[in-house]
Amino acid sequence: METIFRSYPSSSAQRSDRSAGDRLRHRQKVREAIRENIADIIAEESIIGKDRDRIIKVPIRGIKEYRFVYGENVPGVGEGAGEETRPGQVIGKGQEASQSQHAGDRPGVDYYETDITLDELIDIMFEDLELPYLERKHLREIEIEQQYRRKGFRKKGVRVRLDKRRTARSRIKRKLAASRHNETFQMQAERFPFHNDDLTYRHSVSEIRRESNAVVMCIMDTSGSMDTMKKYLARSFFFLLYRFLCTKYQNVEIVFIAHHTEAREVTEEEFFHKGESGGTFISSGYHKALEIIQQRYHPSLWNIYVFHCSDGDNFESDNSVALQAAQQVAQLSNLFGYGEIKPLGSGYYGNSMIPFFAQLQAENFQTVQIQRKEEIWPAFKIFLSKDRAREDAA
């Protein structure tokens, strides 16, 4: 027979998946690509403020396989689909045509959408960061009796923890032993009751765990000069800080303080979406933060991270008060940052607080300037590096 038919073997379901290795390697490369573009991805508005477990789609450039190919000025030939064709007619956009031709004869932009959970993305983000070892004083860890863990069995205990199965088993054992010991013992004896020795109780120990707490205080200038773009940049920064601390501490709380000439503690919604007007007293925000720290977050129990975003447009008269308050905040907190947001093209602002804050002599104080969204990630790294530097010095 010169033609052979090989039937589909029924065991084929278990046949090895030959492309598994290459797919894995490809996914690794995609992941690397995500890491390289992380700054772009986190600047995408869509991921900020999203749920933790949510799966997001990250559009990334596919890993291209480069060759020598022709560019744009190359004419092609197509088949008319029946209706009349005439010169000048537009038949499509961009690269679509390349699909129908031989693969690889023209570059196409392949975009993948990769499903990735926000958590995974955050992992990748912070892998990139070479995590600084954050200061975590023992004092700031509270001991909590968290939960009970099973640990073996005891003969004594409270009734609710009685293990019925084991109790019954031990009775049977005793019964068998008794029958072997005493041949005359009648197996069919009418009763063989439980004895106190049979009772077995589950034993559990309470575990003491140390829990570390952190609080992020987001202070934002909501005066009239803060527009949507500036708020968006501030928000991205707060988002990163919050996510980052979530990976380091078990319990992270977040406090939003909005200020113009007066400061108020607000909800997240209000914080980002409600515009206010009026002038700016930066000091008011710091005073409010100090007040909240005093009331709720004692520095011996909480790691405090304070970050303030403003456009630097402060009233002159407030500057010295602000400096003093900042000094106090810096003393209480692990890390205190001031981010000045001046988007490019949003006009020239005469005032900047950065030179002014330079007078502040605190190791854990950092000022950063953010002009566009690509700068958020670098700024964030700079901000955290302060913490690291301090560790090294210690």
Partner: protein, 477 residues
């Protein structure tokens, strides 16, 4: 139609199909069919149909891409996949209905006959296909497992080699000259032409040819040239380059004959199925599938359709030409069937289109030429009296290896500095610069020293110089 059929059914149909194919004059390889499910089919597609192939992430990418398209219903699966080997191997989708399987069987014999008889496939050594690919896979795996080499290095080299794999000689039926033959030819060429009036002319000055030049003649086989002339490459690197080159050479005939080959298989499945005694339902299903396969791709070229039309037209013209076609066909010694069997042997896509794509066909297929303007593709020429030839030219230039720029190594010691100097044979088509830059990076990686490529950008001759991790564009003159 029900999908239920047995191997026995297939064997019965196969017997009839094969008998018909033989009667028609086809001469296919012995055939092996393998039934597989859709995931296996996707895997075969990703690895060009080879049962054994060396690993590389790009195949994983291609699998993911195919799978995504399949899952979203954008790209269907082919009904079959045939590889050029002796015996010829084809995969059939287990879930297809019997009608489709019958069509596929006939289609496969068309391909197999083409593989066996078309001249471009002579160089592929079909008897050894499977063994060769298996041996390549084993070697690559061995290098990956070798602790002194490892995955990263192998991948790094394969990335570069893949980028350049198609930069090689296209017509493999022409033997490559040996270095001795090249020297001899150079010597012959350097001799002055014969001059019948030698006595009255001053003898021309004899310039001895430069035998130190490397290469003596511009060399198109980039990977092979680097393999043979970069002494810093270790043996395993040279071996990987050889493997990639051999695989590219294996696939070039298929790239070069896509239209002919697909057209040929479609032509024969139609003829064979028309002669088979099919039940009514099967016949209808066959017609539906046949029309699907041959439907023109709007805005592009469907090689099945174009090829099919050409084959039909050739056979018709040689069987009963209309009066003014008589003289094109020359002497009427061949009938249509003989003619197409001859054409399938001695042509490739470019020559096939050049010889047999007539004005009438260009019009009938309503071919047009388009150009990108800004972000849009705009029709620049339609099939009328003035433009049909230009459209044909454009088509010929884009088929087969025509879509790969011709780049040759001119000098391996440019500026006496071991700089690799290459020249792009520019034909109004500019290179894509971003891609050129990235590919030059690979070339630089393999050569290990500066690389210079002469090309034309916007009608200006320019040099693309790649050194120190970046490309610099220098205008010439």
């Amino acid at each position: 139609m029900s999908t239920s059929y047995t191997i026995k059914d297939l064997e019965d149909w196969n017997k009839q199909i094969l008998r018909l194919a033989r009667e028609f004059g086809l001469n296919p390889y012995p055939q092996e069919f393998e039934l597989c499910d859709h995931e296996q089919m996707l895997a075969y597609m990703a690895y060009s149909g080879m049962p054994s192939h060396y690993p590389h992430w790009s195949y994983g990418k291609s699998y993911e891409k195919l799978k995504t398209l399949y899952d979203y219903g954008v790209g269907g699966l082919p009904y079959e996949m045939v590889i050029n080997s002796n015996p010829c191997i084809a995969y059939l989708m287990r879930d297809n209905a019997l009608a489709l399987q019958v069509l596929t069987l006939a289609h496969v014999y068309g391909h197999s006959d083409f593989f066996r008889n078309n001249f471009t496939f002579r160089s592929t050594r079909a008897e050894f296909t499977l063994e060769t690919f298996k041996a390549h896979a084993d070697r690559v795996r061995r290098y990956i497992e070798d602790p002194s080499i490892g995955l990263e290095k192998v991948e790094h080299l394969l990335d570069a080699a893949h980028a350049l794999s198609l930069q090689c000689r296209r017509n493999l039926a022409i033997r490559k000259q040996t270095p001795e033959e090249e020297q001899e030819q150079l010597l012959v060429e350097s001799k002055p032409l014969h001059d019948p009036f030698r006595s009255i002319h001053r003898p021309p000055e004899y310039a001895p040819p430069d035998f130190n030049r490397v290469p003596l003649y511009p060399d198109e086989d980039l990977i092979l040239f680097i393999r043979d002339h970069n002494s810093h490459l270790s043996d395993w690197e040279k071996d990987l380059l050889t493997i990639v080159h051999e695989e590219a050479e294996y696939f070039i005939p298929q790239i070069e004959t896509k239209i002919m080959n697909e057209g040929w298989a479609s032509f024969w499945h139609k003829l064979i199925l028309e002669r088979l005694d099919l039940p009514q339902g099967v016949k209808l299903e066959f017609l539906v599938r046949h029309t699907q396969v041959l439907s023109p791709t709007p805005g592009g070229i469907n090689p099945y359709h174009l090829g099919f039309k050409l084959w039909e037209d050739i056979e018709r013209r040689w069987n009963d030409p209309i009066p003014n076609e008589e003289k094109q066909c020359g002497s009427r010694r061949k009938n249509g069937r003989e003619k197409i069997l001859e054409v399938r042997e001695i042509e490739r896509d470019t020559s096939f289109l050049r010889r047999y794509l007539t004005e009438e066909l260009v019009r009938e297929l309503n071919l047009f030429e388009y150009q990108s303007r800004g972000n849009e593709r705009v029709i620049s020429r339609v099939a009328d009296e003035e433009n049909w030839q230009q459209i044909k030219q454009t088509l010929i230039r884009n088929v087969g290896m025509g879509s790969v720029p011709v780049i040759k190594i001119e000098n391996a010691d440019y500026n006496n500095n071991r700089v690799l100097f290459l020249k792009h044979d520019h034909d109004d088509r500019d290179l894509h610069l971003e891609y050129a830059e990235k590919t030059l990076l690979y070339l630089h990686q393999l050569w290990g020293r500066e690389v210079v490529l002469e090309t034309t950008i916007n009608e200006k001759k320019s040099l693309l110089c790649f050194a120190d991790e970046k490309m610099v564009i220098k205008p010439l003159h």
